[in-house]
Amino acid sequence: MEEEKKTNGGPVLPQEDPHVEEDTRVDVRAIVEEIRAQLRAEGAADDLPRFEEIPFAGSEGVPVLGDAFSVAFGRMCEECRVAYYREAGGGLKGKLRRFIRRGVKPVVYPIVEDQNTQNANVAEAMRALAEIVAQQQVRIAVLERALAEKERPAADKADRENGGRE
């Protein structure tokens, strides 16, 4: 059958097969029940690593390493740019603040820029570190899997390797 399928190269077009076999119905429910019973009898466990355990880069390109990290990192990115000044307010006090602000501007602005540059560097370093952690997590998962495979009973392995189709 395998050979027949492999050499039968033509696609089946709807109009080319007018003769329908008498009973094409497949009792899927019965088949599913049989399969379920078979899986129960074999005690076949689905113990493969879950997709949810795989770290990934979220929307901002930052690896999602858990809610706490994502929330903290998101907050840091939102607030990492420091403003040059706060609201001066109105009235005489506001006017005085704005006057002083103009006087110290040549000193304050460069310092604020330096701080913003440093904050951006820290955010980038955190992002890079998160990527390294994510890669390490994947590596650990790969090694754990390899170890689990090594520890599987030899008989199981032989069954698997002989299971290829003819």
């Binding site: 696609p11 089946v12 077009l13 599913v32 990934f56 929307s59 994947v138 790969v142 189709r165």
Partner: protein
């Protein structure tokens, strides 16, 4: 009176593009004045196939068919066009599937759905690819009549030659090839196709290979899938084809032994029918429009279980009589989507729209 089609993008070779072109030919065959207008027109299409959307002009007695599938800057202009409007709805993926990976993609989906809601009171009728999509329209606030009519499938395209090198590479080692075709998008649950494959390989057939034929929709998601394949120790057994030519896609179909689908959200899922065309037994999880498209054929799993799917794949590949019955059922189902049947349904809808038939 003319009936014209409008859409954000007229692409070459995709289901929506093929449907638009087939409808264009159908309308001309019915003696109606027609045309296609699109914001983006694929350069591979013959010149004159469609006109830029900016040139769309309609009169009060005209009918404007709008293909809704993605967000578009064209929608508001469309709503103001004179004439009767009909929405052909191809489904928009809910943004929640894209949220973890791409705020931009999620936002596009959200905007697309918002635009569909906007059109709800502005169209007189809708045509949905599937009953699933029709229900979606009701949820979006549409109270007008909704017809269900499938997309056109260009069956003649599947007779084109397959890429020989790809076919040879996938066949010569004698491995069993499981196949999934579709964009690597989170709603298609590719991770569960991978899991199904790994369970199949571990429990039933160590000499198996999985072919994931589809372009990268969300880079973060694809990267995660690659990492998952690596963690499962299957990176050498899974082929991520990325975007491939049609000839290579045909080779993938022809080299495959079974088709596996674990999608959580599909508006129709053309690859299911393509798999049937190539006589591949389909094993699919029963979600969204998948059961409707399958129409009782293939092996439709009542629960989303990769373990069940893996066992079902093994069963259908080992049991010749079961496979024969499954394939016969799929061929019968395929007849429902023949060009003649689908064209007849669309003609009925157009006659109703033009007043030739009550309904």
């Amino acid at each position: 009176m003319k009936i014209v089609q409008a859409m954000p993008t007229l692409a070459y070779g995709d289901a929506i593009g093929n449907t638009a072109l087939a409808l264009d030919a159908l309308l001309r065959g019915m003696g109606l004045r027609t045309g296609i207008y699109a914001e983006n027109i694929d350069v591979r299409l013959p010149k004159g196939t469609a006109r830029p959307a900016a040139k769309l002009r309609t009169e009060a007695e005209d009918i404007l068919l709008y293909h809704g599938a993605v967000t578009s800057g064209f929608v508001e202009k469309l709503a103001k066009q004179p004439g009767r409007k009909v929405l052909i709805y191809h489904n928009i993926t809910p943004p929640r599937f894209f949220d973890p990976y791409s705020a931009k993609s999620a936002d596009l989906c959200a905007k697309g759905l918002e635009q569909m809601r906007f059109l709800a009171g502005k169209v007189e009728r809708c045509i949905a690819d599937s009953q699933f999509n029709a229900v979606d329209l009701r949820r979006l606030g549409y109270t007008c009549p909704v017809d269900v009519c499938p997309v056109f499938i260009r069956f003649e395209d599947y007779q084109k030659p397959a890429d020989e090198a790809t076919l040879r590479a996938l066949r010569e080692d004698g491995r069993t090839n499981l196949l999934f075709v579709g964009r690597l998008a989170p709603n298609k649950k590719i991770e569960d196709v991978i899991r199904t494959f790994c369970l199949y390989k571990r429990r039933y057939n160590a000499r198996a290979r999985l072919i994931l034929a589809g372009s990268d929709a969300v880079p973060n998601y694809t990267k995660r899938l690659h990492a998952y394949a690596q963690v499962l120790g299957a990176e050498d057994d899974i082929v991520f084809t990325g975007h491939i030519s049609f000839a290579k896609l045909l080779a993938c179909y022809r080299a495959a032994d079974a088709f596996v689908c674990m999608s959580a959200h599909e508006g129709f899922c053309v690859p299911l029918l393509e798999a049937m065309v190539f006589d591949l037994p389909v094993v699919a999880a029963a979600h969204a429009a998948v059961p409707e498209t399958m129409g009782g054929s293939g092996i439709l799993l009542p629960e989303h279980s990769p373990a069940l799917a893996a066992a079902a794949v093994d069963r259908v590949l080992r049991d010749d009589s079961l496979r024969a019955a499954v394939l016969a059922g799929q061929r019968a189902r395929l007849r429902d989507f023949s060009t003649e049947n689908v064209a007849a349904r669309w003609q009925k809808i157009f006659r109703r729209l033009t007043g030739g038939e009550r309904g």
